[in-house]
Symmetry: C2
């Protein structure tokens, strides 16, 4: 797979001139950082890491100041805000346009800031994701185009977090030997704890080395060893006992660019450009990097999906989503799948005819580490990261998911085992508040499709969601065959919400649902129609997309008048947005129970019968049916609406 | 601190008779479990763990079948549903009233099920919490009353999770040598991965031993070594190569109780009861166990809190909450505090006059492990667990918090650094969706007080919240001194929401806010009142408590008529509950920026000026002011309301 050629990284043996250069730049960087923070412990860490960082930057890192974001650059990840002054100093000293960067750099401010700072440990996982993306691209395009490394400047608090330890296990399992972490102990940390951290990484299959942080020869030897390592590397830079701030260097030393560094990076990039120009896969590589798709992609995908689904046209949303994923991987080679055990178990149990496992990297139960890696893969570029996990594990992935949303990265999640089925991990507790908690997150789109066709429409919408990550929440059970099949519906799943059925005339009741509950709503709608009520049934697979539709569309779908009923096997929180203050919500405001799915639906009153009873009780309470909406505007007839929305038929 | 006396655990050296008994019971347990699951790998794990579990249960565990939940019992935690048949078999064979227990036991079904099953790794953390509670109670009451151990029957997937690794680090740091984990490799796990798991626990300061799972002598020796261990112990039970299901034992073997086991446990408990009866601290011990408080507790707490706050009467909510915690620890010795670095840093930075750190166990950045431990402490009983962490870390604690809510355990959280201040960990990203995501969780009460007085009222309400865990979300900045101080207000913070101010006559605008935004709402209310509008200002520190008030109270607070405006520096998700569909929300529907708090408030338009503009614009758009509510019912005069709510003055 990944060859270990390190041609561009091979460096000449140190010469006194080069060492002197590194030491001069180190001195300048120390001076720049001296005022960056008032916290003594952070400042001590910055000073300790300065020489290793400078040596990396001057002699090893593939970094071209002129084009800091060229595709085959080394990734240098600085995940904590406390360490950012180090990166800022390096950029100020080497990059011509970074002279006015402050010490508190931020994601988005300069292309060399690879990820946003986040909770401790997230950066480690993201870096592992970048290394994985590099590995996959290298195996596709070869080392002549993809030959870079991932470096992390971590803090010792990062190493102690669960997410970093999960990512460390995954990095070792995937053989990410091109990832290296530089770290120093914090003055506040017990040295025994720091040793334990190193030992834990050793036990996770990492190569762990200690160097003295002020010994340039040792540092260079360790960095060079990293280039030949067969495992991911952890380099612990141990501070000298007494730290003295060097005398201030002359002013001209403090301004970049330090041309020798720039010259090295620039020549590496130019020779890469020459190789790219002659590479037979140049077009593919450039398309992968841009994330663009082929023109015919949309039609091809639909065709392939329909072929795959032919064996089970009324399959579950889970089955349909996996079929979508499988056909997508046939069309786009840049799809990179990480799958947690919770999902592979589920697909095995559901006996899916479309095993996706052979193209996915298995991530065990390290879902948090996996989600952090997906962030890094998205930031790396050239791959479309896709995570597959059980719905119930989303709570564990939440910190990582937030980083994805915050950086507006394109990561797609397939969450299996939604609904009131027995979940795989941890007994019979159902997801309850997860939907609301995800819908509350900015930039994230949450799709909960009801049937196979809706699922594929949601897949397309998720891929096209422009703002950031998107989730598909999937149920393993196929919906019951519907009696009335989408007669006279308006809009489609790609609008986020649409009318499944609606009688003519004044609307009495609008039943809204998502996912598996749409079938229940349809059934309840039929019962109510038999009682003489004019019922509309609405499916809202994605709130975020629906909320972006024009107000006229939303009103046409939700109706002006009548009672609104929301049906979802989840918390009511947030449903007032669609129900208003007078609506009825049928769902769960308590945690589930351990029982077969049908029994749980019965227990929580999420059945067509119970819904009908509630609706009729409300009508009885509010007087006769005909008096319902005395002041309501005349019913809107769909055909009168001046809208050019086409009826989406898949 | 914790003495290592193990009197009751000391067991006589094995005799052939006793060994034969264990082997017979093991055979019976295997037969009971044989049909419990159809998954071959799970069945293999159950069979492997059967003899170690039986040996533990027969010879070591302090378990009295007659009173399975007596306070000084050993805790035997089985955190995964896959392993529950093992516990069910032990109970069926030893407990008279457990004959009809199925193999899928569940939390709440039998007192010997110590915790609910949950995501992988959570049980490890909960067990560490139980061991910590035991350690604290033993140091308070001595080994004559508190002398038990915590055992965990884990799966190897538990060991690989981040939360378990965090908890393992904490268990070692706190010296929880009375905790032991029994585990066997899954047939699906790569043996090298399992070895790595063991090595990681070794590197975390654990004593790691391997035994052959079918060698009773070896198992007994290892279990006895556990009783003398100076570290937490991990006992890996390695399966034999070929596993054969034993012949079915005769029917009478399959029904309990196995009286020799019962006799041992019962005699241990009876001698404990005799010691308790004569113990000088018996009353304290029993009160701690019941969780009851002294009669005068409420008044004493208020008095102490006011004394502590005298130095800073207008302090921040964070300061007030810490003062509340400190005075609570003076009154209740059972308060057990775990604090994450994110909170201790913040309290250091805010220069709080009430350091809580000296009574708290420091948990570093292992917030997830910490939250899992709090679960275990609550389940253990005898302590009131209280977690202190930064608001932004709640996402990492979410899986553990869900377990707390699901088990309706009493855990109190103080979350520091809320609001748009620069957060401690991870740059300048503000909490945005966290509030909504927490409010969506069943059984959880989320308090976000505005000022020192509200904070203390919320503290009391949090302590009295009957359903489960409660969070206090705290801001480090003191609110600005208010011009008008609670004149004519109605209700109080302990009702979850209340009127801060309200003019007489028809209401035009109701401004609702929580936390630091209440001051902004008050200011905006004054501006609007100067423009001739009749404005009410409402503080809603806790939605869950407010929603439980009688409808008449809520209506009196929120008003019948007029425009409703919600102000909160967070996502709008869920606010329609109070605003209706026509209200205005002023907040953030995007992630924050890195900037000083005031600049962020300006940037997102959360200022009195911006609010006034929005309100006035709405009034202009909807026609003249006087026409606002032509059909509204006559204004409700507060004094006319037939309610016995007292005006809470602190």
């Amino acid at each position: 797979m990944a060859s270990t050629s390190t041609s561009d990284h091979t460096i000449p043996s140190s010469s006194p001139t080069q060492d002197a250069l590194v030491l001069r730049m180190d001195k300048a960087a120390r001076a720049l950082m001296a005022s960056s923070t008032t916290e003594a412990d952070t400042q001590a860490e910055l000073q300790t890491m300065c020489l290793p960082m400078t040596a990396l930057w001057c002699r090893i890192l593939r970094f071209d100041p002129a084009v800091p974001n060229w595709p085959d650059r080394d990734r240098c990840v600085v995940p904590s805000s406390a360490m950012l002054p180090l990166l800022a100093a390096m950029l100020r000293l080497t990059t011509p346009d970074a002279q006015d960067l402050g010490p508190t750099l931020e994601y988005g401010q300069h292309p060399a800031v690879e990820i946003a700072t986040g909770p401790a440990g997230q950066g480690m996982a993201a870096a592992a994701g970048m290394a994985l993306a590099e590995q996959q691209l290298a195996s596709r395009y070869g080392r002549s185009l993809v030959n870079h490394r991932t470096w992390v400047v971590a803090r010792d608090s990062d190493l102690a977090t669960g997410v970093a330890l999960e990512a460390a296990q995954l990095a070792s399992r995937f053989g990410l030997n091109r990832m290296a972490v530089l770290v120093c102990p914090s003055p506040l940390t017990d040295p025994a704890d720091f040793s334990d951290s190193l030992a834990r990484f050793g036990a996770s299959g990492w190569s762990v080395r200690k160097v003295r942080a002020h010994d340039l020869g040792g540092i260079m030897a360790a960095l060079q060893a990293t280039l030949r390592a067969r495992k991911p590397t952890l380099l612990a830079c141990m501070p000298e006992c007494c730290l003295t701030l060097a005398d201030l260097p002359p002013e001209e030393e403090l301004t970049g660019p330090w041309s020798p560094t720039a010259r090295r990076g620039s020549s590496i990039r130019r020779s890469w450009l020459r190789r790219l120009a002659q590479h037979r896969a140049r077009a593919d590589f450039e398309r992968d990097q841009s994330g663009r798709t082929r023109q015919t992609m949309r039609e091809d995908w639909g065709r392939l999906w329909r072929q795959t689904m032919r064996v089970a046209p009324d399959g579950s949303s889970q089955q349909a989503a996996f079929a979508g994923l499988r056909s997508l991987t046939m069309l786009r080679q840049d799809v990179a799948i990480l799958a947690a055990t919770s999902s592979t178990r589920s697909s095995r149990r559901a006996n899916l005819p479309v095993p996706f496992i052979h193209t996915a990297q298995p991530c065990g139960i390290q879902e948090h580490g996996m989600a952090g890696m997906l962030n890094g893969m998205a930031r790396h570029g050239g791959v479309l990261p896709c995570g597959v996990a059980g719905m119930m594990t989303i709570d564990r992935m939440r910190s990582a998911l937030r980083m994805t949303a915050l950086m507006r990265s394109k990561v797609l999640y397939l969450l299996t085992d939604d609904g009131l089925a027995l979940s795989d991990n941890g007994g019979g507790w159902q997801p309850v508040e997860q939907l609301a908690s995800l819908r509350a997150m900015p930039h994230l789109a949450v799709f909960r499709p009801a049937c196979a066709e809706e699922t594929f429409a949601c897949w397309q919408a998720a891929l096209n969601w422009p703002q950031g990550p998107a989730l598909l929440i999937l149920c393993p059970h196929p919906p019951p065959p519907r009696a009335g099949r989408r007669v006279g519906h308006y809009g489609g799943p790609s609008h986020g919400g649409y009318l499944i059925s609606c009688g003519a005339g004044l609307r009495h009741v609008t039943l809204m649902a998502s996912g598996p509950e749409v079938a229940i709503a349809t059934q309840a709608g039929q019962h109510l129609a038999e009682r003489g009520l004019n019922v509309a049934v609405v499916s809202i697979p994605c709130w975020e997309v629906f909320a972006q539709q024009p107000a006229t569309y939303c009103t046409a779908v939700l109706g002006h008048e009548g009672l609104r009923v929301g049906i979802e096997a989840a918390s009511s929180f947030g449903w007032e947005r669609w129900l208003g203050t007078d609506g009825i919500f049928v769902g769960m405001d308590d945690f589930g129970i351990s029982a077969p799915a049908n029994a749980v639906y019965e227990r929580f009153g999420i059945t067509a019968g119970a819904i009908c009873e509630k609706v009729l009780a409300r009508f009885l309470a509010s007087g006769a049916q005909k008096d319902l909406s005395p002041t309501a505007p005349p019913p809107s007839r769909l055909e009168d609406l001046d809208m050019s929305l086409t009826i989406t038929r898949l």
